[in-house]
Symmetry: C3
């Protein structure tokens, strides 16, 4: 696969980095406007505050014009304009003078990561607060401070993006990524930019078999809102889905399984990851933390897994200002993109085949034997014989590739070559 | 759980220790008379000698007035009155003078445990014999010895105790323990005293769901006799059962599985033992040795496991005079009691639940989120979310606790709290 | 089992060693003529060249009168008469003078095994060639060489042997071995001689339960040809089968499983090998290389495994002149014979039994308890109780032996003794 897309994705992440996103508000709209240019079919939806969604209700919309803490001499010691992580997400408006002692309960920092600004939100309680480095906090002199949050928290709407790419079949592959964090890279922007690149590649596929449902939503409330409106059709049509999150750094690969652990999505991702990243980390549904929490919940039960680079909650920069553009790389994004793309390619070609002859066919008379016998050619013949041996109509290519320990990409090539030669037919 | 019951059980064992029990006879009756005072509902049954029971027949009843070996000077060198292990169980009457050489085939000792009197029986052959320490045996001088066994082996009956504690449902939980060994502690008295304490606790349960069938029988012949009279109703009603044996020392925990290994009793005991004693030893049915041999036999197939402390046959004092009151402790008995009681508690509450909402519910609006976020509270929320995530109506709490690695006691609490808040309903 | 058969088999292999076999031709006929004397019922079949068999066609028949390379002084430096491995199998006739340089592409040797003549064939391309040691090849001086292959490659037939030994039941056990390699011992003659010894033993069984289908065929094309004519009846009747190959050296034991891995043949062979050769190597169907490739192919799906000593392709002498009569031994052949014979014995006695009593039977009253209690007798009683405990009508002896870790030979003895005593009946 071309590695150019890695650099392209990194550029998009760079462009989107400064925007202050939350689960609602104009930051989401700006982000979707940017992505719409890359995916002309993307539609933007607004769900009004107060709309019920299963056990939840769409919250008020939050927007921020500015927020800062000034000292008595008018110096802005903490300023949302410099880093949007400084403001606790969903902070209520405030304009107050406080002593340092009075201010402290509104401050958040990380004693064990003194140079990191933590990411803190308080969506469902009426609060305000500021986040700063422990190092800065420790140096605040006693005195009076002016805390200003110029925010609005008012009826509005929850905004999300949706792209439906039709295929030959009604059956769908589902991609879900979130847009709801301010300036963070791996645990925010890697998801939408990899999903965008995947959407562009899917759109370009001439012989696309499946329909694709791709959504850009705020985490948790967004997936709940989306499911509450689309669950029936998704349950009817979804054959496999992927939560696209934390796909930007270049340290590890991770595969988080569905609740049952044996859906088509699990089987395909397992077959792909075994070869794409043999040393990837396997996580069970017990380790879930993103929108798979909703997709796998009882009664929803969609076949959704998450292929990641380094998983949320498992790297030190997670949910801090250190999760910035230096943490993700073009190669990291490319690797995440490739892993999910290979999974989609396997899904698109994942037929169960049956041999058309009894016993092994004579490869030689069909020119399928390499004329020059080398170590590589022996492995190729072995792979071909194994694809034939297990094509009994009961196993799809994902199963066969897994069982015979073959790279799924090669399994697809071999099966299509054998089908073309008349030795395999679709079961 | 209160630890007072440990001391209480130890006292009962101390009281019962001197009685000479065997598979029949007055020792069993004395033991049951003592236990009846602790369990007023206990009924005592007598099954006449000669009664057929499947492939077996109730043997003659054995009673002993006295037994000893005197030397030529009339000194009682071995005396049943000093330790009832000195007499081989079911010894026929004898009153004979023998040379040391003639006496030797009637003596039993343990060369490798020179200070232990072995426990030996000969229920179904006409024999007599004495057991003594190797140390004493080695010092017997040549000469003539007077062996006297003043026993009766005559038609009588086999005696057992039965306690039925009715519950709201006909379905039964079964407890089986044995009373058939003379003065031994872990491999005899621990079983009946723990079973008695459990029976007293079960009787005290106001909202008891199941009916309890609790029997105190001689090992092997007793369970065969009991099954031959009650198999149909037990097969119809028993949901889980426990052989209560070797539950008194404080060294190890053991779980011996049923023949199939996957009955409700296995699943419940596995979930409990994982947390009650994470380092317990797992035994398969191939390691069986007590009445589970009958309960798990083909065609009987009752769902019975055995939760033990240190298993019979696996500790050096087993079946010797060293298995005495110093081997068991109040804490040891308490631990055995607690493990089985927790299993019963899980059975009583082991419903399969379904979530009442789609997607994760909003815990916050129901006050289920801890207001102060601490490490412990995060684990509590995680446990709650996991109980919800796996409550899909197909798994009972035993399965869920096992799968999400949660202490079943906590799983019960969480499920009942969620049910009370309307978030779970019984499937 | 008598070890005399090992020496007998070794003698047969010695007699058959010099014959030049290939997938067709007079070497196969000579070999079958020799074996016919040992197995009077063996029938020899000829299938004409050009006969279609699934995806294949019976090739022309190949025979060799002689073949050599002479140098300019008329010295035969390589001569088929000295070792038939010197000639590439299915070499076309040739009579040509060539320079060393022109000769080189027709020579085959093994740089890493300089003293071994490799075994090379070219059945389906029109080629000729000679095989020699690397050591000899390196010493060939420049000059002109006279290459002569006096062979015929012409319409004829493919020859195979078949022996049907009828039993009380129509159901069949299948043995397949190959006759198609020139002078090699483990990977050729061990198969037919062990199969012959097994056939003679099977013929001698008075109370033979199953029918036996035993074939001596050229590898690959032979099994394909045979299956194309007998597949329906074999699918209907075959309960288990064995490819008999590489059963002559005394270094290792190997068990190669069927494609599904859980057929009766797999279960029986697993139970036998666990005790016959606890350190045997387990191979999956992915390691297949002989006629199990056909027997296990989709749509054929016969329950066939391969019990071997050191597996083809996994020992250094394989497919070279070093796989000679020094590589196999009477003890090696005997071990291979014994392993397959024990598997057949288990199949013949592999009933599912049910206990006739509920609960454990009283062994004592039937004389089944050893009167002298020893360590060995305790194990014997344990084995007997375990056979009873698992005889619930759902498990055959292969399953039970495997589960209770008992030598299948002992399991058969115990089950038959218990059946005779009326404690077990066939399910």
């Amino acid at each position: 696969m071309s590695t150019a897309v890695g650099s392209e994705m990194y550029q998009w992440a760079t462009d989107l980095f400064p925007i202050c996103r939350s689960i609602t508000g104009n930051g989401v709209r700006q982000t979707l406007a940017y992505l719409s240019k890359l995916m002309p079919g993307l539609t933007v939806h607004e769900v009004p505050s107060g709309t019920p969604a299963f056990d939840w209700t769409v919250p008020k919309e939050w927007n921020v014009r500015g927020a800062y803490i000034e000292d008595e001499r008018g110096r802005r010691i903490v300023d949302f304009a410099r880093n949007n992580l400084h403001l606790v997400g969903y902070s209520e408006p405030v304009d107050r003078w406080l002593t340092l002692e009075e201010l402290q309960p509104h401050l958040h920092s990380l004693p064990e990561q003194p140079y990191a600004i933590p990411y803190v939100t308080s969506y469902y309680d009426g609060r305000w607060g500021f986040c700063l480095t422990q190092e800065q906090r420790d140096q605040l002199p006693p005195g009076r401070y002016h805390a200003v949050v110029d925010s609005t928290l008012a009826p509005g709407s929850l905004t999300y993006g949706e792209l439906i790419i039709p295929g030959k079949e009604e059956k769908e592959i589902f991609l879900s990524t979130y847009i709801c964090h301010p300036s963070m890279a791996n645990n925010e922007l890697s998801g939408p930019v990899v999903t965008t690149a995947l959407a562009r590649w899917i759109t370009s596929l001439a012989d696309r078999r499946f329909t694709y449902r791709i959504i850009f939503i705020p985490e948790t409330i967004g997936s709940i809102v989306y499911l509450s409106a689309h669950l029936d059709e998704m349950k009817r049509n979804t054959i496999a889905g992927f939560v696209v999150s934390c796909v930007g750094d270049d340290r590890a690969y991770s595969l988080l399984h569905s609740r049952s652990g044996d859906t088509l999505a699990d089987r395909v991702a397992t077959a792909v990851m075994k070869h794409h990243a043999p040393d990837h980390i396997e996580y069970s549904y017990l380790d879930r933390g993103s929108d798979e929490r909703q997709y796998g919940s009882p009664g929803v039960d969609l076949p959704v897994v998450s292929i990641m680079r380094t998983k949320y909650n498992s790297y030190p920069e997670y949910h801090t200002s250190l999760d910035d553009l230096t943490l993700i790389t073009p190669a990291g994004l490319q690797g995440g993109y490739d892993a999910i793309r290979k999974s989609i390619e396997l899904l698109e070609h994942n037929h169960a085949y049956k041999t058309t002859t009894l016993c092994e066919p004579q490869l030689g008379k069909r020119g399928l034997y390499p004329t020059l016998s080398t170590k590589g050619s022996a492995a190729a013949v072995r792979a071909m014989m194994n694809v034939l041996a297990y094509s009994d109509g009961t196993r799809d290519l994902a199963d066969i590739a897994q069982h015979i320990d073959l790279n799924p990409t090669e399994a697809i090539e071999i099966a299509e070559q054998l089908a073309q030669k008349g030795l395999l037919s679709r079961a």
